[in-house]
Structure formats: C-alpha cells, structure tokens
C-alpha cells in the first residue's frame, strides 16, 4: 500500500503548478466561508461585549413604552421591594461639530456606581486610588463629561480638552477604558436633562431586581420592562436576517468552491487513470487504488483547508470592517474587532477543506473506482462519447428544478427552506451544462470557425467531445456568473424599488434632522408653523418597541400632511386610510404585515403609557425603512397614548408653484441652523439613503468577486485537464502541420468557448436566480417586496468578467502549449 500511495502522492510534486492550483481552489472556497463566518461571529461577540459593558450588573430596565419617562415615577420604582439597586439613565446621541454622532449617557454618579464600573471609577486615579478633582468637576460643572479611550484617541482628547458639539461645548474631565469600541460620552444625569432639554424626564432606569414576577405585576401598566436576556435576544434578532444573508453568501462561495474541487479532483483522476489501470492489472485492489487517491484528496483538503483557514482569518479582518459599518448604518453602532487568531481557525479550515474535498471528489473517486484496466491499457479516455449521458444528467437536473419549485412553495415555513430551494435550483441548472454544450455546439462551431478559422472549429469540437470535463467547468463558471448576474439584478431592482419608494413617500422639500440624528426641539416646530408659505410640516417620531417578543417600531406622523403631499404605495387599503388614521386607526408596513400576519381589518394591541391599546389596521403600505416592521399612527393619537412629545425630524412641504419656494426653504434652513440642527433637501436626503443602500451591499459585492476568482481557477483547471488528456492528440496535430500558434489559438478558443457558453447559461440562470432572491429569499428574510426591474448593467459587467476570466484562465495552459508542444510526438510514453 505504501508504494501505491507513494506513486499517487509523487504526482503532487511532479505537477507542482497544478497541485498549487488545486490547493488554491480549496483554500479560496474555505477562506470565503471561514472569513464570512468569523466576521459574522466577531460582530455578534462585539455586540455581546458592548451590551455586557453597558449593562454592568443590572438585570432589568424599565421605561415608558415610547419616549422618556417622568422623573416623578422614579421614587416609586426605587422604593419597590423587589428592586435592590436602581440607576436612572438618559441615553441619547450628540452630534459633534465635525458631523460625527456619538452616544451620550446621562448617569447618576452615586446611584450608578452600584451597577456599573464606569461611574465607580469617576475621579479615581489609575494608579493610587485617591479621589481627585475630576469627581467634583463631573458633579458640579454642567458641561463636564467623561469620554472613552477610543474616542479620546481618535479626537486627540485628554482631561481638560473641549469637545465642540452642535449643542455647545463639552469639557473632558476624565478618560475611561471602554472594551465595546463604541464612542461614548458620560455626563451627570442632571446635566444631561439640561443638555437635551428634557427637564423632569429620564429615558429609562436600569435595575437590579430580586423578584421579577412581583416587580412586573406591580409595574405592568404603562411601562416596558425588559430583562437583559430579552434585550440580548432582541438585539440578536435585529441582526438575524443580516447574519443569515452573510452565511448564505459564504455557503454559495463554498458551493462554487466544491465545484472547483470536483474539477481539480477530476483532473487528478485523469492523470492517474493509466496508473490506476496498471496497478489493478498487477494486482492492486480497487480499495487500494481509491484509498491512495483518497489520501491524496485528504492531504490536499487538509493543506488547502489550513491555508484557507489562515486566508479566511485575514479576510475576516477586512470583512469585519465592512460588516461593522453596515450594521452601524442599518441597526446600531457596532465597531466589531476581528477575533484573535485561534488554533480553531486552522482546525476548522482543515475540517471544512477535507469535507469539501471529499464531497467534491466523490464523483471522480467513483470514476476511478470504475476504471477498467482493459480500457485504460488500450488508451481509451473516460469522457468521450458522453452526449447520451448528458441527456440523462439533464433529466436529473429537471428533477432538481422540480424539487426546488416544491421547496419554494414551502418557503413560508422558514427562510432556510427558501435557501435550500435556491441551492437545489443552482444544482439543477448546473446539471444542464453538458446538455447546453451539446445543443449550442453547432452554432458556436459556426461562430468560432468564422472568427478563428480551423483552430476555432476544432476547439468547439473539443469542448463538445470532452463533455465529462467541460460540462463541470462550465457548470462551475456558470454558477459563479449566475450569482453575479442574480445578485447584480437583485441589487439594481432593489435600488430602483427604493428610488420609487423615496419618490412616493419622502416628498418633503426639506428635512430637518433625521431619525438617526439629534431630536428637534418642539419650539422650532411651533416657530415654523407660523412661517408663511409652508404648505405642511410632517412631525416624525419613531420609537422601537417589542411586539409579540420581536423587535418592531411605532412611527407617528401628521396624517393630514402626508395625505396631501405623499403618494404612498399601498398593498392593502388606499389613500382612504389617511382619514381613518386621523380617527385613531393605524397603518402597518408590509414587513410588519408579513411578519406578524396582520392585514387590513386586523386588530393590533400595543403597550402604551396608558396601558394596552387596541388599534384597527386601516391599510398596509410598501416600506423599505425597517425590515422589522412599522406601525404608523397619527401624531395626535401618539401624543394621547404615549405622552411623548419628542420629535425626531421634520419634513417641510411647500406647494408646487409657490413662487417663494427657494426663499422659504432658505428661511427654514436659517432657523434650523440657529438650533444647531442638520438639514437636507429632498435630493440630498434621497442621496444619503442611496449611499447607505450602496454601502450595505459592499459585503455582497466582495463575495461576487470571490466567486468569480474561484470560478476562474475552475476554467484554468479544466483547460489543463484538457492539455494533459490530449498529449497524444497534440502529437497528431504536430504531425499534421499545426504550428504552436495554431494550437495556442485553439486553447484560447476553448477557453473563450467555455466562457461564452457559461455566460449564455448564466444570463438565463442568473435572471431566474435574481427572481428567486427577490420573490423568495428577500421576501422571507426581510418581508418586503422588491419589484423586478430589468437592467443591462449586471449582464454587461458579468459578460466582461466572463471574458476577462476566460482570457486570464487560458494564460497558463497557453504557456504550457508554447513550452511543450514543439517537442510533442505521437507516442504513448
């Protein structure tokens, strides 16, 4: 057995360049998966660290269901027998003069030190433990703040520095360590009330509760009580769909990677067939031959997997930045730091590489097991004359597609069923590769014959006659290109749907502040109402809530203003819903409707400051603002039930044709500026949303690139397999008078032919894949409808990518031809 294994393994050294190609193929597939999973895990771990750091020793939080909580209730909460420790908190954001927003916590330095380490260390010198003047300064100076070390480092701050904000300067009295990575400013809670103009209110109280049930019973009406476990679940649920999509992308990359492994393993089998035949003839058993091949596969899998583990770790360092910035843009601030290097990256990579290698090598392994020494010793290759089998394989493909359809029909059960359907579809489509080559060959032969002469005609014949090799290469390349077209079309369709949504729902002439910005003082709203020429002002307020244990939000707006100026797209109901909203009904977003199975005429019960309140749903509208769902109500209803007068932003509407439009807008800007508030015109606001949208898909785009790289190796591997299998044929070409240039041209034509047929298939498969992403995956993950829009860009970009990859993939094979062809002869050894 040793000699059998040795004879196989020495091939790896003899064909170094191909072994490296094979190794890189496995490594890239594994790297994509490991990188994505590590990035996703580091995001969740950082989230955990951030939550743990800020919660300290608290067990629960209590707040009003929406908006701030009156100070008057605090004494009652503090005196509750189930509450051991109590700490009031103001949790807001402040915009620095440079434009950056940071989180600002108002904490009580006496009450808070029982539950959090940050406040316990105010005024404590790092070394000697003595109190110093920082504590008194924090207590008595209304602008005194603590800043975290990361922010201090970024902005070059130290004790005594001044931070300029849109709401005035703040004075740093101490810098504290913050493992969460989130820029954080701490201020005394009383000073925070002044700073945010919320005298008599706090946002919440953090508690250490000893008897949860008793406490909940006593504070059930008008309050939202959340345990830390619930909070962690809510935050994790917020990231659920995002994480799922990341993992799905990495699995798609691995899927393409397995194709590549199949391709390279098939190459290994091609180069071993003769040896296997000889070994069987002289007495080796099939088990010994396949065992030796398995050792080779595993060796490559382990080595490629280890390399993939290391590359994946390095990739995660890059991806974690993108993932962090996307999560910060879409959900909440998160600066995930890449996970430290661990032995498990290597072990996991090796395991994944071995598993993928075995899966990808199974069909070649079976081919090797079926090798008949009689055939091999006669010099027959395994793949000629496979066109009949391609029809059978296409039938299996049809069965896969039918199975995919069934899975799509069942995708309402779970989004994973939809993903399984997408995999089944891609697998089914890939099984058509050989059939498509057979069907397309005559047309391609004509085309290539005209373009490249005899070399082109022979090249297409070679593709057609070596289906066992070419169909796999085409399948792998086609899947990668389809992913590119599918993801590209989905992103373009989504972008267009978003533009439509913005044009119909965000029609204000000017927006003062936004949901993510600082709040708007009510005085400004009152002031603007008196300004002549303004047609309407929409007062926007959005508060996160937990509905049936899952995150959602309530938005309050001015129904009469939106009725007049906006053009909502309705799934159910219509513009008549506005009248009903004024009378106390609500409308819900599509994502809310789908997630909670709520439609027009349904009733929803939500916790308000006055206890539970039931609402009739007047309509369901298209919305891309939140995947978690929105209940929208008129501001008058919101104020009555929640008593929260906070305003997140104002939308200013001016009647079309108003001659003073520009002047009025300038006046509003001027007044907003006086309050230190940011503003944006409709175009600027829309542009900002589109920027966020584009940055959200940065991860997706990076995966597209990776898939194409993996596929590139697939084509290169297939061409090299060709080269090795047809050494004898090349001798015949030489005898017939083909020059090196002719054969090199033939190799280029083979590569371009494979690229062309892959692209043609991907144009169809990619379009269907886009529809699957839009109609099944996105609908299940995010619960919103994306309207399919045909755009040529994804097809053009992918076509050019296919061309570039085909040309690049044939570089090495052409070099081999140039180097070896001149000395080839018609002989066996």
């Amino acid at each position: 057995m040793r000699s059998v294994i040795r004879s196989f393994l020495r091939h790896l050294v003899r064909r170094r360049s191909l072994s490296i190609l094979q190794l890189l193929g496995i490594a890239l597939g594994v790297a994509a998966t490991v990188g994505m999973m590590l990035a996703s895990r580091s995001a969740l771990q950082s989230l955990g660290t951030a939550v743990d750091f800020l919660k300290g020793g608290t067990t629960h939080t209590i707040a009003r269901p929406a908006g701030p909580m009156e100070e008057t209730v605090l004494a009652g909460i503090m005196g509750d027998p189930a509450v051991r420790y109590f700490a009031p908190v103001i949790d807001r954001r402040v915009r620095l003069k440079g434009g950056e927003q940071v989180r600002m916590l108002g904490l009580d330095p006496f009450l808070d030190r029982n539950v959090r380490s940050i406040t316990a260390r105010i005024g404590v010198s790092a070394g000697d433990g003595k109190t110093d003047e920082a504590f008194s300064s924090f207590l008595f100076d209304s602008r005194a703040v603590l800043v975290d070390e990361n922010m201090a480092k970024d902005l070059g701050l130290s004790a005594g520095s001044i931070i300029a904000t849109l709401q005035g300067p703040l004075k740093v009295v101490q810098v504290f360590s913050n493992p969460s990575g989130e820029p954080l400013v701490i201020i005394d809670v009383g000073h925070a009330q002044e700073f945010f103009r919320m005298k008599g209110y706090v946002d919440r109280a953090d508690l250490v509760v000893t008897d949860e049930n008793a406490f909940r019973q006593r504070w059930a009406t008008g309050f939202a009580i959340e345990s830390n476990a619930q909070k962690a679940r809510t935050l994790s649920a917020l990231l659920g769909a995002f994480k799922l999509n990341l993992e799905a992308l990495s699995l798609f990359a691995l899927f393409v990677g397995i194709f590549l492994i199949y391709n390279t393993a098939m190459f290994a089998v091609v180069t071993r067939r003769r040896d296997a035949g000889v070994l069987l003839a002289i007495g080796a058993s099939r088990g010994q031959v396949t065992g030796a091949f398995l050792v080779e596969v595993l060796l490559l899998g382990v080595a490629g997997g280890a390399l993939g583990g290391v590359l994946g770790y390095l990739l995660s360092k890059f991806l974690v930045e993108i993932v962090g910035s996307t999560i910060s843009t879409l959900y909440f601030f998160l600066r995930p730091s890449a996970l430290p290097w661990s032995f498990w990256n290597l072990a996991g990579g090796m395991l994944l590489g071995s598993a993928a290698s075995i899966v990808g090598s199974l069909p070649p392994l079976l081919e090797l097991r079926r090798v008949r020494p009689v055939h091999v010793l006669r010099g027959r290759t395994a793949t000629r004359g496979m066109s009949k089998r391609m029809g059978t394989i296409a039938l299996f493909g049809t069965a896969c597609l039918a199975f995919a359809l069934v899975l799509f029909g069942l995708s309402f059960l779970h989004v994973y069923v939809g993903f399984a359907g997408a995999f089944a579809f891609l697998l089914g489509a890939s099984l058509f590769a050989g059939f498509v080559i057979v069907v397309a060959a005559p047309g391609m032969k004509h085309l290539f014959s005209r373009a490249m002469g005899l070399a082109g005609r022979i090249a297409i014949g070679n593709i057609r006659e070596n289906l066992g090799r070419t169909s796999v290469a085409v399948a792998a390349f086609m899947i990668a290109l389809s992913m590119s077209i599918g993801l590209g079309s989905m992103i373009d369709s989504f972008r267009r749907s978003l533009v439509w949504w913005m044009d119909s729902q965000l029609r204000g002439d000017l927006y003062i502040s936004t949901k993510a910005d600082v709040n708007v003082p009510e005085e400004l709203y009152e002031e603007l109402k008196t300004l002549p020429g303004i047609g309407g002002i929409d007062v926007f307020r959005n508060v996160p809530i937990t509905f049936h244990g899952r995150p959602a939000s309530i938005t309050s707006i001015d129904a009469s203003v939106l009725e007049r100026y906006d053009r909502f797209g309705w799934l159910e109901g219509g513009d008549g819903s506005w009248e009903r909203m004024k009378r106390g009904d609500v409308i819900v977003s599509e994502s809310f409707s789908r997630r909670f199975k709520v439609g027009q005429g349904s009733r929803v019960t939500i916790e308000t400051a006055r206890g539970p309140a039931e609402f009739l749903v007047a309509g369901v509208y298209y919305d891309y603002a939140s995947e978690h769902g929105v209940i929208m109500m008129d501001r008058s209803v919101y104020l009555r039930l929640f008593g929260d007068r906070t305003i997140n932003s104002l939308g200013i509407f001016i009647d079309e044709g108003n001659p003073d439009r520009v002047k009025i807008i300038e006046e509003v800007k001027h007044r907003a500026r006086a309050f230190g508030l940011p503003f944006a015109t409709r175009e600027e606001f829309h542009g900002r949303i589109l920027d966020i949208f584009d940055s959200t898909f940065a991860v997706t785009r990076s995966m597209r690139v990776l898939a194409v790289i993996v596929a590139f190796f697939g084509i290169a591997g297939a061409l090299m397999t060709f080269f090795v299998e047809r050494q004898k044929e090349f001798g015949v070409y030489r005898a017939l008078g083909f020059t090196t240039g002719d054969v090199a041209r033939m190799t280029v034509a083979e590569s371009l032919g494979l690229g062309l047929v892959s692209f043609l298939m991907s144009a169809v498969v990619g379009t269907v894949f886009a529809l699957i992403l839009i109609k099944v995956i996105n609908l299940q993950s995010f619960n919103w409808t994306i309207f399919y829009h045909f755009t040529t860009r994804p097809y053009l970009v992918t076509g050019l990518t296919a061309l570039a990859a085909s040309v690049a993939a044939c570089a090495y094979p052409v070099w081999s031809v140039v180097r070896k062809y001149p000395v080839m002869q018609i002989r066996e050894e």
């Binding site: 000699s3 393994l9 003769r274 070994l279 003839a281 058993s285 010994q288 066996e828």
Partner: protein, 233 residues
C-alpha cells in the same frame, strides 16, 4: 499437445463486445490447455482476439461464455477479490508500452509488485533489477530510462514475485529489433530458469524462435501451429 500438467485451461471461451454496426465477437469458442513451465507464443493479426484472450486469462475481463481455470481454479467463481489476489500472487504482466508508474523509481516499481504480494523486500527488488542488467539504475525514474531499459524494469517487476505464470502483451512491440531480441532472450531465459509459464502475444515472427509452442488466432478462433514456418505471410 503438452505432456506436462496443465496450469491454464479454457473451455469454449467466447467474448463479445458491445459495438455498433457488427457483432463485435472477439473470441469464438477457444479451448486451450497450457502446461506448467511452457513458453507459448501467440500470433495473429490486429483485432484477431489475442489481447482479449490475454485479458481474460488475467481476469481483467470476463468472458461472455465459457470457463477459465488457472491452476485448477475457476476464474469466474473467484470473484473480483479472488481475481485480484490471483494477479497479485500467481500472475506477472509485461506490457507493450511498459506501463511503469512514472512517479516511482525503477526499484520502487519492482518493489511495488512485492509489496502487493505481501512480501516487501528491497534487497530482492535490487537483485531482480540486477538479473535484468539494470544494476546501478535503481533510483532512476522511468523517463530517465530508454525503452529497452523500461521493459527490463517491467520484466523485473513481473519476475520478482516468482509467479507461476507471466503474460506478456507485445513485449517487443515498442522496441527496435536488436533490443527486442535482447528482451525476448532475457524474458524467456528467466522464465525457463524459474520454471515459469510464459504466454507472449506478438506480431514479431522472431518470437517464435524462443517459444516451445506456437498458437495463432484468426477471427477469434485459436489454431495450433506445428512450426514457425506456417506463420510466414
């Protein structure tokens, strides 16, 4: 016919290949008996069924009809595993295109045969190479050897495990006539020394001179030739 006991017997052996256009009948009722230690030359035109018969005797292929016995054992009853063991212990193979494993050195190629037979012995492998005149070339890879040298390695590989039967398919077909003659002398000489039965499929008429018995195949049928003269075209 031979006076020595039979080591190979075939009974009414037929072989048909699935081919389009014609019946693809490669063997048509071959009855054969070969004695222990006999050197047999098997002649015939291309496509006459010589290699098919050799493959059937080696258990590499299965007959459509008929029976083969090697040392009294029915090949059909042995099964895949049994036939593999048979090739390992009782058969040696010499091919026209040498079929050495390109990634193993000359010595390792010979050792491979011993390893498969369950008796790995590097000294024996070196001795075997020495016997075929390749002393000093043990660590060379096949591509570093001439055609004749490669075939010597193949002969050493077949002989080293001392099998009772060696099957040689056109052993000189890829060599010049002088080298071919040397190889035939070497192969038959070693087989005679060891008392090994040798069946050589060949086109080369001079093979006849080295054989105890001459057989000819025509259209899948086997005929016994009395002398080499009858083979002349």
């Amino acid at each position: 016919m031979s006076m020595t006991p039979s080591i190979i017997r075939t009974y009414d052996l037929w072989k048909q290949y699935e081919t389009e256009g014609h019946d693809g009948m490669a063997l048509r009722g071959v009855d054969l008996s070969i004695g222990k230690g006999q050197i047999v030359a098997l002649f015939g035109k291309s496509g006459s069924g010589k290699t098919t018969l050799l493959n059937l005797l080696a258990g590499l292929d299965e007959p459509t009809r008929g029976r083969i016995e090697i040392e009294g054992e029915d090949l059909g009853a042995l099964g895949e595993r049994g036939r593999t063991l048979l090739r390992r212990h009782k058969l040696g193979f010499v091919f026209q295109f040498f079929n050495l494993l390109p990634t193993l050195t000359a010595e390792e190629n010979v050792l491979l045969s011993l390893e498969l037979a369950g008796r790995p012995d590097e000294r024996l492998a070196r001795e075997s190479l020495d016997l075929v005149g390749l002393a000093g070339k043990e660590i060379r890879f096949p591509h570093e050897l001439s055609g004749g040298e490669q075939q010597r390695v193949a002969i050493a590989r077949a002989l080293v495990k001392k099998p009772p039967i060696i099957l040689a398919d056109e052993p000189t077909g890829n060599l010049d006539s002088a080298t071919g003659a040397q190889i035939l002398a070497l192969l038959t000489g070693r087989c005679r020394d060891a008392g090994t039965t040798l069946i050589m499929v060949s086109h080369a008429l001079n093979t006849c001179e080295y054989a105890d018995r001459v057989l000819r195949m025509t259209d899948g049928r086997l005929f016994e030739e009395i002398s080499c003269e009858g083979l002349a075209p």
